[in-house]
């Protein structure tokens, strides 16, 4: 049947698209192609590379965060803490102890892991939405600490710039933006591989069981607490690694990364793209970061300034638009952006009104 053939054809193509996307990402810095509307100027320009690096970083970060939300069913509102922990600890080791970057990064990662293990073991004593609230409280404490600037270590509301003399020379300066892009891409590939490996491991199956029905896992004789803690620490480790990459990308630690808004934006990314899927959080993170930057540009542009106040005022706030888009996505598009092709296919199948039981079963399932 021709329909079936086309189905397997697209499916075979679909299996190869990650490789194609990776090739495109590897080629991007060498391309001078302009993408009007999407990016400002040629792809390979330092500004665009910087934006793309941030997109990749946040795509990876959202993927790591989804290890908790989409894979284990843990709604943590304190993920910013481990991200900012990695950033601040690494920066502080360089600034205060005078250690070289590589050593500081290792210690920063260790700091993030220990912090996640410590706070995770406390907050996992409660479950469900109370877990969310407790993680939020811990993260808020971290945020307050960073803003109060204890001992002049965190730099308070200004944050602190990374010391240029401690960083590898190839990672500073606008002419080396492409190297930072490679770092962000490497972090993304590493995170994707780590998450994929973890969810396919035996522990990953237990996580899935916990997400579906925690009581049943308990009845099977497994203690969910330990498995949840492993997921929490792994996600925390990936987040602090991301924090270190962010330190390199932005050249410093800022208290904005410690706020609850930061965690909430991670949540928005994951849900926007599609929680619990392999590519969803990545797509969501890239989309969110791109939209956030482009909307900020749009808000400052002349065409918005000329609009009547009713339109201009909300358009000048990217967070307002993102919040509204988020509500709309949650409401109208459960499963996120990555489910759109599937939904279109289902809608088409329904319209074709085929009598085959498989097609009708598929259209009935979501």
């Amino acid at each position: 049947m021709p329909v079936n053939n086309r189905g397997t054809g697209t499916r075979r193509l679909a299996r190869w698209w990650p490789a194609a996307a990776l090739t495109a990402l590897l080629a991007a810095p060498f391309s001078a192609l302009p993408l009007p509307g999407l990016l400002d100027g040629p792809i390979g320009s330092p500004g665009n590379l910087q934006l793309m690096s941030l997109c990749l970083l946040f795509g990876a970060l959202a993927t790591g965060y989804d290890l908790l939300l989409g894979r284990t069913g843990l709604l943590s509102f304190g993920h910013a803490l481990y991200f900012a922990g990695g950033t601040y600890a690494t920066n502080t080791f360089m600034l205060e102890a005078g250690l070289p970057f590589a050593v500081s990064a290792l210690l920063g990662l260790l700091f993030g892991v220990v912090l996640a293990a410590l706070l995770g073991s406390v907050s996992l004593r409660v479950s469900g939405i109370r877990f969310s609230m407790v993680t939020l409280a811990f993260a808020q404490a971290g945020s307050i600490l960073a803003e109060r600037n204890p001992g002049g270590v965190t730099g308070g509301e200004e944050g602190r710039a990374a010391p240029a003399d401690r960083l590898p020379a190839g990672l500073i300066g606008i002419e080396h933006t492409v190297n930072l892009y490679w770092v962000a891409l490497a972090y993304l590939v590493f995170t994707l591989a780590a998450v994929q490996w973890a969810v396919r491991s035996p522990a990953g199956r237990v996580w899935e069981g916990i997400k579906e029905n925690e009581r049943r896992v308990e009845v099977l004789g497994l203690r969910p607490y330990g498995f949840k803690l492993v997921a929490f620490v792994l996600a925390g480790a990936l987040a602090s690694l991301g924090g270190i990459v962010h330190l390199l990308l932005t050249g410093g630690a800022t208290p904005q990364t410690t706020t609850s808004d930061f965690t909430l934006s991670l949540l928005v990314m994951v849900v926007l793209g599609g929680s619990g899927s392999r590519w969803g959080p990545l797509v969501g993170g890239v989309l969110y970061t791109w939209a956030d930057h482009r909307l900020t540009d749009l808000a400052g542009s002349g065409s918005v300034a000329d609009l009547p106040a009713v339109l201009r005022v909300p358009l000048s706030q990217p967070l307002f638009l993102l919040g509204v888009v988020f509500v709309v996505i949650v409401r109208l598009l459960p499963g996120g952006v990555v489910r759109i092709p599937e939904r279109i296919a289902v809608a088409r199948a329904r319209r074709r009104a085929t009598a085959t039981p498989r097609a009708s079963a598929r259209s009935a399932s979501p």
Binding site: F138, V330, R331
Partner: protein
Amino acid sequence: MSTVVLLVFTGLGLGALYFLVASGLSLIFGLMDVLNFAHGALLSVGAYATWWAAAGHLPGAGTGGAGFVLAVAFGTAAGTLAAVLLELTVIRPLYTRPRDQVLATVGVGLAVPALLSAVWGADARPFPGPRALSGTFGLFGARIPVNRPVLIAAALLVLIVLKLFLTRTRHGLVVRAGVEDRAMVTALGTDVRKAFTLVFAIGGAAAALAGAFSGLYFGSVDPGQGTSLLIFAFVVVVMGGMGSTAGCALASAVVGLVQQFANYCTTAGLGDLSVVVLLAALLLTRPRGLTGRLA
């Protein structure tokens, strides 16, 4: 001695603010399993509406006497209306998807403060409190700001009204039964959805009132105020045992007092941290909260 009296009043005043935010949050959660992340936004709506009315935009409202009462009433009404709108347009369509309800309130909680800062700026606006509430009075040698006891009285009043509503009225009965066992109430043929809207309205009113009073307490309103108060309200709700109004009141007082005393005894800012340490200690010893209820 005088310092202790002042700290007690300041701490209880802050606790009163936490109670106003947390009581609605706790009721909504207890009944609907929805952690309302937009609750801080409702507080901000109340705060800005009160400020807007008191600044002379509403005829009859002002910064003194009956005019200020009218402004607070307007702010509370605005918050209530916003809560009902939120329930009808965002929460109710997601009735069968509890987690998505929480996520949707996160979106609203991001969008509303952004909109407020787009309209009135991101900086704090001075809050025009009435002169009668801006002075201090002497007690045991301490100069206590008048607004502290007013806040405490307002919170006590809300506590009593809530208790009476929950225990003495038919609607309260439905809400209480819904908190205990939603499925059973539905099965008995009571429309829990009406109770949802009602509880959202009550929660919104309390949050908006908290917004008006936070203007008095801090002397200013800013778009982020709701969110920062919300986080302490979360701590209060977890500590108080979810869905329990009395536990909420107790935890609010404890959190407010601990925060103020810690701020005074150590350097400023450690008070906020001590609250989180308190929460961690409570979780390690009594994971079900002060009242021992399992929500």
